[in-house]
Symmetry: C2
Subunit: 172 residues, 2 copies
DNA sequence: CCTGTTAGTGATTGGCCACTAACTTATTCG
DNA sequence: CGAATAAGTTAGTGGCCAATCACTAACAGG
């Protein structure tokens, strides 16, 4: 048994939660599954977080924040469009991260309360950050985000990389 | 008590299932809820369908098929791009239909078996149909689908129509 | 009118799951 | 050391939910 500070544990829980929620969604994931992945007893999760929803919210915001950060860090001001696209391509290698993003979107539609407002705010900030990076051209921003969301869908659906629906994203 | 043929009942179940699954997702929707909406007892669902998964699959394929049909029917060959975009705009007034689409995507990622293959096939056909309607220009097809998927996301997240993230989809 | 079939229900069950309570073990520090 | 504190566990509970079973009510044809 490896003892950790509560803060470190919470961190592990968030990571595990992203993986589990990504696959099962909110209702399809048991706290038991998360706890097992962390390597801790299930009831202990409820000491670290007030409830399942709180775990999901933490995982959701973390997922969006990390995605955003990866994009920002990977973007070269010299050629933002190309470098950002490349950064997203790198990002989606992590399937769990991408699936979690999708789960967050449908969860917001379902919960529709404080949770929704919180996520909308994070997403909005993300949008704005991209907007600035792409030279504050609204058209470009919409364009980039659109492509991103299509990619999410194609990955979710599990189309293999050589399928024709991917043809416009082919590496040069 | 209104008696119906099994086939008619199945139809009602599919409609009810789309509404319920759209809001709760696969795991977040009880067969009880679907049955209540249909106006029928819960066990009877299992006479009409072999199980919950089968109900979801029926609802999923129906949702995609109807969406596709609405796009095809709404597209004017004279100006496919504009008319198809308008058709999608009309389509998304039905929030349940759109949310169900999202639920299908995440469900495929989770189930990842026969179910996934079935849905991929339907989606692929949809893609091809759009492709032809848009003049077999792969770039245009990707473009259109991307916009569609971004719209789905924005609706799921619940951004009000006057929010800046919508600015590029503003009506002329 | 009776007999086979089809539509539909009520009661139940076994399993899972979020969450609580009460207890145990390790760490820190005066 | 020893006692307060923080990390973690085992055992249990009430509620929900998919699926089954055994049954009843309506209709159709002869």
């Amino acid at each position: 048994m490896v003892r950790m500070s509560a803060e470190e544990r919470r961190e592990s829980v968030i990571r595990a939660a992203i993986t589990e929620f990504a696959r099962g969604g909110y209702h399809g994931t048991s706290t038991e599954a998360i706890a097992r992945r962390v390597g801790v007893s299930q009831p202990y999760l409820f000491r670290l977080f007030p409830g399942k929803q709180a775990i999901f919210l933490a995982a959701a915001t973390r997922c969006l924040a990390e995605t955003r950060k990866a994009l920002e860090d990977g973007t070269d001001p010299g050629d933002p469009h190309m470098s950002m696209a490349a950064a997203y391509k790198r990002l989606i290698q992590d399937r769990d991260m991408l699936l979690m993003q999708m789960q967050v979107y449908v969860a917001v539609a379902a919960m529709e309360d404080e949770f929704g407002a919180e996520i909308r705010k994070v997403w909005e900030d993300w949008w704005d950050a991209i907007h600035v990076l792409l030279g504050a051209d609204a058209h470009e921003t919409t364009f980039f985000m659109s492509y991103g969301m299509l990619i999410n869908t194609l990955v979710s659906l599990g189309f293999p990389p050589d399928h024709r629906v991917w043809s416009n994203f082919a590496a040069p």
